[in-house]
Symmetry: C2
Subunit: 355 residues, 2 copies
């Protein structure tokens, strides 16, 4: 684990220790309206540093993960006379940490920032890997760059404010880490009931899951090769998200990945004879907990268009996918034609009982 | 010299060689309306790669070095189906290369880009150091980060399209490199007539000047210590630029630095007994070639406010300046009070004969 990643349920104390060490000239805390209402008051009462911080509040949700919001953050920092020794604390889910990281890393050519994920999804996914950014031109994370937080503080204390839907959303990424790691971890993940978790056991499982991500990220910081293992389920997942955004009914990222992994496992079954037993076990899990993202063949052209726009595509003709021979046996940059994808989407609809 | 920096007057051939090596999936060339009219046609006729590129044209000048323009560049790339293996060629002065670099380095988390400076100022200043960015909230380069171009191609072939004002603007940064390097280089620079240059001798002097910058940048990539030597003349210079922008009559960056160096040399004389003979020789040079930036004491509060906003200031009370004991003997982070600055501005006005 990198030293910049701290797993602890003593969040306020940890923030104060870090601030003591960094001695920033000013402290700014970025929240959305949800974390402002439900998380900030508690932290303010427990942490001297957070109590002293000036608050930058933004609207909540993927819909506001855009340039206007980033610009508003910059403006607040600039008007608040932040300088190069200022510190930004990003307190929220992935939308807050992705945009906050982008804003901090590009403000006056980069100021220090701490990520404090308040959702399981952000803790498992956005806290490691240094991805920053926002949606642009109707495309997810179209703008962004790589920059690690100075520290990410990972805890489970905020998750009691999450709905079971939000818990499941984060858990989809943990399932993904199971798939790219080993059959053992996959089955362990499929057996755990995240909607009825204990803080300590979940923090342990989270640590194990994040460790998988860290190993891949360390091996490939620029996201050009091995790291694409972590993209498992995401090519289709992002397209589902983009389609949902276009329908004006945004799809939770984790759910999109959960559904995307069904398609990716189907592709893996067709191409590499991935175990049908495990595919079916996963489909059962998805149906039980996540339901289904509804698509018809009328949506295919749009979905394919989104996929061709995907950052991971180096070539214009094929769509690069991450597939599995078996859990832990990952193949990255597998070129798939529109026909390959279409076939898998048909089976996805069958498996999830869509018309 | 870093291998990513190429000094040559065979620009078209060099671009084609680089493109041959990089094999980008698409090529995009960023120009402003000036380089589109006066530089692009020639390069298009000589370079296969540039001829094949899709053109992104923006308005010219510091006034348009803003978020709207960056956003327009991103939109063109996105609509033009640029992907992570695309290449952006930034063809222009510092405004084009700073924004083009920012846009490329943050598009889909970073695509390759080449800077081709068409002005002396950009060649000597913006081509090395990895600074990217744009103006925001009325402040110069408020947003940006560090990222090197994959290659910067430095030539003097485009400078015949420059006015003598533009030549002098670039030359101010070369003079600065003289001051922070040695008395010998300073006197060599003060003896050279840039408004009547020969391409080969200027390319040689440019090489010598850029080498000074590269040495400082290599020693301090994050711009926190030694590199601030290069900030000589810039703290006041940037404030002059900001004031001029506010007056709606933008001041050329090089001129701002030329005037800023007068103030910095005065501060250096007061604090470190910098040679009055060399100060006067420089003031003569400035009066002869650059004239004067007009300020009165009514402007001081505004100028001080801009300086307190400067990225280089870690502390809220003092203004950090780069001063000289003698040419080549640089002191960075010298705290100066408002009174110190005010005294130097008074003497600046006296020296340049301002009322």
């Amino acid at each position: 684990m990198s030293s910049s990643l701290i797993f602890t349920n003593y969040v306020a104390e940890t923030i104060d220790e870090i601030v003591e060490r960094l001695q920033p000239s000013s402290i700014h805390v970025l929240v959305d309206v949800n974390t402002e209402a439900f998380v900030l008051p508690l932290l303010r009462s427990q942490s001297k540093a957070v109590a002293a911080a000036s608050v930058i509040a933004i609207k909540a949700g993927e819909m506001f993960k855009n340039l206007d919001t980033v610009s508003a953050i910059w403006k607040k920092l600039s008007d608040g006379e932040a300088n190069r020794r200022s510190l930004l604390i990003n307190l929220g889910g992935g939308v807050v940490t992705d945009m906050g990281a982008f804003a901090a890393a590009s403000f006056k050519r980069g100021i220090a920032f701490i990520n404090v994920p308040t959702t399981l999804l952000c803790a498992v996914d956005a806290s490691v890997g240094g991805k920053t950014g926002f949606n642009f031109n109707g495309l997810k994370n179209e703008i962004g760059f790589f920059r690690d937080a100075d520290v990410a503080i990972i805890s489970t204390i905020f998750f009691n404010t999450l709905t079971s839907q939000e818990q499941l959303s984060g858990y989809a990424e943990m399932l993904k880490h199971g798939f790219v790691e080993s059959e053992e971890l996959t089955r362990k993940m499929l057996a755990y009931d995240v909607t009825n978790y204990r803080p300590e056991s979940l923090l342990e499982l989270l640590k194990e899951s994040v460790a998988v991500k860290e190993r891949y990220v360390e091996a490939d910081r620029e996201d050009r090769g091995a790291r694409r293992a972590l993209n498992f389920g995401h090519t289709i997942g992002h397209a589902f998200e983009s389609l949902a955004m276009k329908r004006k009914s945004p799809l939770n990222h984790g759910y999109a990945v959960a559904f995307g992994m069904v398609v990716a496992l189907v592709q893996s079954r067709i191409k590499y004879d991935f175990s049908s037993e495990l595919l079916n076990a996963y489909v059962d899990y998805v149906k039980r907990h996540y339901g289904a993202f509804e698509i018809s063949c009328a949506d295919y052209p749009e979905l394919l268009k989104f996929m061709h726009h995907d950052k991971k595509n180096d070539r214009k003709d094929a769509i690069n996918c991450t597939l599995l021979r078996a859990p832990g046996q990952v193949e990255v940059n597998v070129p798939q034609t529109d026909a390959d994808i279409t076939a898998a989407l048909d089976i996805y609809r069958d498996l999830l009982g869509l018309p």
